[in-house]
Symmetry: C2
Subunit: 169 residues, 2 copies
């Protein structure tokens, strides 16, 4: 069973966070929710729920985790403003650990310099930024390329979960 780091910031998309998290936990994996600050309440972008991260970015070591999950919404753009979050992300890329990013999640991968030459998808507005950063962008519900699993939007969650679980087998 894998230890999965979930990075979460304000205005996260509720479904893109909770549904994959629940599915991965149901499969027996251990998920740790990491924010800028431990315990600081974060709002969902649709006002449906809030979350308090278990850990702050200053308290975690990427070497303790087997995979990285980046939910979408307004969260990834807030996370990529923090250099420690970008550095944490880079460590997963360097060691080619599984990375699951949905919707705006790939924004964090752009800032971590991790998309050039990678086949990926994302929320439609971010696709131009991925292309400009050198990714091979495909408008499809889920794209698997090596250690990356990417999806576009809430409707893609079932396919995103299926392919993410396969990477943890």
């Amino acid at each position: 069973m894998a230890k999965v780091a979930v990075v979460l910031g304000d205005l996260f998309n509720e479904d893109e966070y909770m549904k994959p998290k629940q599915a991965l936990e149901d499969a027996g994996h251990e998920l740790s929710v990491i924010g800028i600050e431990a315990g600081k309440e974060l709002k969902g972008e649709n006002g449906k729920t809030t979350e308090k991260p278990q850990f702050g970015i200053a308290d975690v070591n990427p070497h303790d985790y087997d995979a990285l999950f980046i939910p979408g919404g307004g969260s990834p753009d807030r996370l990529r403003a923090d250099e420690r979050m970008v550095s944490f992300t880079k460590d997963f890329l360097k060691h080619e650990k599984p990375v699951f990013a949905i919707c705006h999640g790939p924004q964090l991968l752009i800032t971590a310099d991790g998309v050039k030459g990678r086949k990926m998808t994302s929320w439609k507005t971010i696709q131009v930024d991925l292309k400009n950063a050198g990714a091979d962008v495909v408008d499809q519900e889920v794209i698997v390329d090596g250690n990356y699993v990417t999806s576009r939007q809430p409707a893609d969650i079932p396919a995103f979960i299926e392919k993410s679980l396969e990477k943890l087998q």
Copy 2:
């Protein structure tokens, strides 16, 4: 006096919208607030205010305006998801009319294919996307390049207003 189009979407930054709008109106210019739909309530990203756009994007013609103002926050990423907003924006670029964009505002200019070779600034997380799109990015409170005036964040509003007003003289 100039007719200025303001494009506004959900989760706009309140100060970046209201302060320049007030200053431009105080100087005698006429501002029209344009959303995806006329009259549909939009939330400010800090919960400080809401706004109902006077016009919907289907009801306006860019030829009726002398300049374009793009406030920041979550708004520009929502606007660039709508092809009519992107097309509206492109018309201002084609005719080299003044464009004022602050914070996340340049995201709309990226999607409108309007940043390559331009000297610009933006909110810090967007600077990587601007660079990847071919802009010459400078981390400074305001950058004027031809018809473009760009700024980074709420603290830059006074400089942003000053340079925007100069473009309308």
